[in-house]
């Protein structure tokens, strides 16, 4: 994968992807739309304080070398430019996992395992009458999701994560004016998962609700899981399938006396939606542990594991998040 010669006129280097060639062979090659990408660009190089003036703000960005086109589908456009027509946006939503301890203790949320940042899924297929993978993890106070029948989940939130004490504050009015009015609410989230290890994703039921409006502004959550809706959306990743899960209104907001928003939300600012990701692992995973995974120990117990990444994407804002999961079972 070389760089393109950028010493002269702007040129376009176009290639058919693997899918394009396959479609050619099948006689179904038909291009009907296009999208634009900027994967190589690092916008942090945009220097609004350049001493030579505004003409130099994007000097480094414009000097970014561009890779040659390559043919793998998943290497085309990973993020993409947005077709939103608004020009007065200053903020766009971010997406984060919610690992607040109070959410973990009072709702179905789990937190990642220690410093690894991995969320754990248990595969009980090697459990015995005396030992189970869940009990091994519980002994070490490690939170996990039951891989075959999830009752807990990783919570994700979207919103304007502008920082504690920064503007705009996480009020409901700011949610309305900065997110809802600008069409930046992700009522659905697209979840892409590796179908070799995971058979589906459970998300929040549309009747679920969350707010910090209980007594003393404590959490008032009613969260339950349901199967995500399988979609034909092509993630561009080999072996990956996609489902849609519901994004419920995130009514955790700035409160007074006390302000508890930071106790329950990882977004510091106006919040958009909350969603859950609870993977259901495939039955009969066995050889996959040696093919794609490895062995380790939890405490003194030997375990097998497979690491996999689940991608979460806002269907409207296109904001994206990668969540690393580890599937664990007793050796």
């Amino acid at each position: 994968m070389g760089f393109l010669d950028n010493s002269g006129d702007i040129i376009l280097d176009a290639v058919l992807t693997e899918a394009g060639r396959r479609r050619m062979a099948q006689g179904s090659f038909r291009i009907v739309k296009f999208a634009l990408g900027d994967d190589e660009i690092d916008y942090s190089l945009y220097n609004k304080n350049h001493p030579s003036g505004s003409a130099y703000y994007d000097l480094e960005i414009l000097q970014t070398p561009i890779f040659e086109a390559f043919t793998q589908v998943n290497a085309g456009i990973n993020y993409g430019l947005l077709s939103t027509t608004a020009t007065d946006l200053l903020y766009l939503p971010s997406i984060k996992t919610n690992e607040k301890s109070q959410m973990a203790s009072k709702t179905l949320a789990i937190r990642s395992s220690g410093s690894s940042g991995l969320f754990l899924l248990t595969d009980s297929s090697n459990d015995t009458s005396t030992t189970s993978i869940s009990s091994v993890l519980d002994t070490d106070s490690i939170e996990s999701i039951d891989g075959f029948a999830p009752q807990t989940a990783v919570l994700v939130e979207t919103g304007l994560d502008t920082g504690v004490g920064q503007i705009p504050a996480g009020s409901d009015s700011n949610r309305q004016s900065l997110l809802v009015s600008n069409g930046l609410i992700d009522n659905k989230l697209i979840i892409s998962y590796d179908s070799r290890f995971i058979s589906g994703i459970k998300g929040l039921d549309s009747q679920s609700s969350v707010a910090n409006n209980a007594t003393s502004n404590q959490i008032n959550a009613s969260l339950s899981l349901t199967d995500g809706t399988r979609t034909s959306i092509n993630s561009g990743l080999e072996n990956y399938n996609t489902v849609n899960v519901v994004g419920i209104k995130n009514s955790i907001a700035q409160t007074t006396s006390p302000n508890t928003e930071a106790d329950f939300s990882s977004i510091s600012g106006p919040r958009g939606v909350m969603a859950a990701v609870a993977p259901v692992i495939k039955q009969g995973l066995d050889a996959e542990y040696s093919l794609y995974g490895g062995t380790s120990t939890v405490g003194a117990t030997a375990v097998k594991f497979i690491d996999t990444t689940i991608y979460v994407q806002g269907s409207t804002s296109n904001t994206q998040l990668q969540i690393p999961f580890r599937i664990l079972k007793l050796s």
Binding site: L12, V15, G20, D39, G76, D88, L92, D161
Partner: protein
């Protein structure tokens, strides 16, 4: 990851097709067929076969994976040739078969008896100027590509003695042929006539442009008596046809090939997609670096213009499958003050 922002292409105004002809100059010097790789006639870039119907010329010793096939050489004569039926003729049936194979594919059959047509050194195929004995150069598709460009063929043959074949030369060209005139159309495509423009302006062969084949008359070598020489002595071109194998005859032939050159033609059909980017769209990005604490990095206040930088254009099917990717050589700034048309060409 899944892209959610697409722009539809108008199939009437945004997609068009073009056809372009590309030409490359192909100079094939005579040294490559004689003496460059090994000692004549056992050159390492010349491949002979047990069937002995033709020999292949490569641009490098043919056992190397780097070698490219350039052309094949063969000879043949029509069964009505005077030499047909000669006493003790070598490989008679193979020589007749080679002639007939070339002529039936390129010229087809004629008459109520379905006789195979004969090569003629004119463009009329009227039975006059029949070339009953021929030397064939079959070019590999690798170098002729889609066809030989008309009016560009030059063949220089050595007509001197066996010892110094290039002391005298004859240069044949198809200069009278062009894309619009000077050729005849047959089953095997168009052919033009190779003339010796230097001296007598007579025709000595034909070139089939699409098939990539040159058929030369034995008259190309005039009346030289030592067209071929070996331990048994020397022989004229016609005697070589009678008394030598096809392999030995083609050895003698390539000993006298000084130069072959032509321009090839590659036909490129292209689809051009005009990707029109409106002024009010694609000014924001989902690139993770676009935001810092959810704030758009390229803006300080709401009223600042959003800016994005295009590096890639993805072309998609109706079910969002990425079929082609085009990359810009440098980032292209996009903001609400400009509207872009990116012209993406796919060649087939």
């Amino acid at each position: 990851m899944a892209i959610t922002s697409y722009e539809r292409l108008d199939t009437t105004n945004d997609i068009t097709t073009t056809r372009t002809l590309l030409h490359e100059s192909i100079p094939l010097t005579g040294t490559i067929v004689s003496g460059t790789y090994g000692t004549f006639p056992d050159d390492n870039n010349i491949k002979n076969y047990t069937h002995e119907q033709f020999q292949s010329v490569y641009d490098y010793p043919f056992l190397s994976s780097s070698a490219n096939h350039i052309y094949d050489l063969s000879i043949g004569f029509d069964e009505a040739s005077p030499m047909s039926g000669s006493v003790s003729i070598v490989q008679e049936s193979k020589k007749i078969n080679m002639y007939n194979q070339m002529s039936q594919v390129l010229l087809g059959y004629t008459g109520s008896a379905n006789d195979v047509r004969k090569f003629e050194i004119d463009t009329t195929l009227d039975g006059s100027g029949i070339m009953r004995e021929s030397l064939f150069i079959n070019f590999a598709r690798l170098i002729t590509k889609d066809q030989i460009k008309k009016g560009t063929v030059t063949v220089t043959l050595g007509t001197g003695s066996w010892a110094t074949p290039f002391a005298l030369t004859r240069t044949l060209t198809d200069a009278s042929a062009s894309a619009t005139e000077g050729t005849a159309n047959t089953l095997g495509g168009d052919y033009g006539v190779l003339y010796d423009s230097d001296s007598d302006n007579l025709a000595y062969g034909v070139v089939f442009y699409q098939a990539g084949l040159i058929a030369l008359s034995t008259a190309s070598f005039g009346t030289i008596t030592d067209f071929f020489s070996n331990s048994a002595g020397t022989s004229s071109v016609l005697n070589t046809f009678v008394s030598s194998s096809i392999t030995a005859s083609t050895d003698a032939f390539r000993h006298r090939v000084q130069n072959v050159s032509f321009n090839n033609t590659t036909e490129i059909n292209s689809s051009i997609y005009f990707c029109r980017v409106p002024h009010n769209k694609y000014n924001h990005s989902a690139n993770p670096t676009y935001l810092s604490s959810s704030t758009i990095r390229v803006k300080s206040v709401n009223s600042d213009q959003p800016i994005s930088y295009i590096t890639t254009i993805g072309l998609y099917s109706s079910d969002n499958e990425l079929l082609a990717v085009a990359k810009l050589s440098e980032p292209l700034r996009k903001d609400p003050t400009n509207e872009l048309t990116l012209r993406v060409r796919l060649d087939y």
